[in-house]
Symmetry: C2
């Protein structure tokens, strides 16, 4: 990890929608500040768990600008900017760089399957060349269970060789520790920053040269996850890790994004948070009740998870 | 099939790019007119083979408007308008309806995998409600090998019940004849129009109540495919079908989209056609030569395939 580069716990901040399914910038900014006050080092806005691909480019840029205009420093932001269309990726990435974002999290173009590393290299290279800004820090986003397009180790190697400094790291959401370990072994010593895609792998990632995690559940449990990050060298680190893994295992019995929104809705006494955009569907009343029971049984609530829960509640 | 509704052979028209990867409307319109003069009943512009998802919404609308402004009747157009973001799908679909397009070909939102029929229903329903135009004819686009999100028979049933008339048909690119047959058996008698996603299934589709095909290779072999469509009730129909299937089998030994572009480049003596956008990669020189040899050996060329090949060549 290089000084001043993103590290620690970053949340793929969930995106609130109004009843008419339009994005809600006020709730978004409120959640962003709550996350930053409660253990997140930064926000990977417009990740998978942000329903980013359910937003168009204009909506994403408006929300990002709103955050910066409302007190979120660019250095705390690593927005997702990788789209199927090269021209959208360039537009979003340029916008993020202009706003002073610490980095961008780049999905590969994910419509065509079975594409070659050559084609993916050209995609990322075109984005870098067209953005043409030395401030760009690109974090590759490897999430084969969803994108169904992978970022291979030879591809990373080629990109790093051609664009050292600009190609800055990777988020590994493969769910496969062996892959994370292989990436760490290949590149972490040279300053390529690897984020685990789930806090379940946070301790292992830190012990093997990684820099933190970007995890869905950081939306609701940031303080405890940050506590593992801060104490990964301590003797009780495994125990702390077990606790956050257990919390995640309760949440992930439910569809992740609707569950996160239901938890934030409950924790902030703001039902508006529960809304998702199609093709996702919010939790049923039964699922909400069951999730609440499960989390209560586990001793978890947003109030406990956050040191500063008040800023999450809507202003009256 | 209802009178004046799309039927026959429709081409997912390939999209030409300039060397700088920007879309080339002039070449696009030239190809469109060549297709319509050589056996295509219409154009499913912005399909998978059009690299539609490698274009952003603005680029797609500009190209579509250009076609209409340059003599392609709206009734000959069924553009792809289904995107991951609801707001993009609504925008593109509204634009297509305003231009008088015969229909739109709707991909499901394809980023999230394992989504429910309820979520997909809501997506399509929102598009229909928001476009709010009785002229809309929506053709569902089932292409699980690429989208990795399916359009199930119960989903079609529910959409047809809620939006009869508007939900007009389906393109089945599953490559699974059993699925096409099941859709035909369930819905074709009620006026739901099924297009095979490959000319390989054209004859079977016609014999079972379908209305035609929307096929990649209609970009290069439209006249012969149209000949099967016109003669499907004739005694030599199986023989004609075997011929177009054989031509397709030669082409699909190569990556389909780059191969189609290489064939059009060769047939029009216009190398500019070969360009693809990342993540696709054009054929290598060796692949181009091998494809040419294979097609020559098969007795195929764009000149033979087209009755009116001159309109494909660039104007000097």
């Amino acid at each position: 990890m290089t000084a001043n580069r993103p590290c620690g716990v970053w949340a793929p901040a969930i995106t609130p929608f109004r009843q008419d399914l339009s994005p809600d910038p006020e709730r978004f900014a409120r959640h962003a500040h709550w996350l930053l006050a409660n253990g997140c080092s930064g926000l990977a806005a417009f990740g998978t768990n942000s329903e980013a691909n359910s937003l168009n480019a204009g909506e994403r840029m408006e929300l990002l600008s709103y955050l910066v205009e409302h007190g979120v420093a660019g250095g705390r932001l690593m927005p997702g900017t990788g789209c199927c269309a090269l021209t959208d990726s360039v537009r979003l990435t340029s916008h993020a760089v202009r706003l002073g974002c610490a980095g961008v999290l780049m999905l590969p173009p994910f419509y065509y399957k079975g594409v070659s590393d050559e084609g993916l290299f050209r995609n990322f290279a075109e984005v870098i060349e067209r953005v043409g800004d030395a401030r760009l820090r690109m974090y590759l986003y490897h999430i084969p269970p969803v994108a169904r397009v992978s970022i291979s180790i030879p591809l990373i190697e080629r990109l790093l060789k051609r664009y050292p400094g600009t190609v800055a790291g990777l988020k590994d959401s493969s769910g496969d520790w062996n892959n994370t370990q292989a990436v760490l072994e290949a590149f972490s010593a040279s300053g390529f920053d690897v984020f685990a895609g789930s806090e379940v792998f946070l301790l292992r990632n830190m012990r093997n040269g990684g820099v933190g995690c970007i995890s869905a559940t950081a939306n609701v449990n940031p303080a405890a996850i940050h506590h593992v990050y801060e104490n990964w060298r301590e003797s009780n680190a495994d125990e702390l890790q077990d606790e956050i893994s257990a919390t995640r295992s309760v949440i992930q019995k439910y569809p992740m994004i609707p569950a996160l929104k239901a938890i934030v809705a409950r924790g902030s006494s703001d039902d508006g948070w529960a809304t998702v955009r199609p093709p996702l569907v919010e939790l049923t009343v039964e699922q909400q009740a069951s999730l609440a029971t499960d989390l209560d049984g586990h001793g978890f609530s947003m109030t406990v998870a956050g040191r500063n829960e008040e800023s999450l509640a809507p202003e009256v």
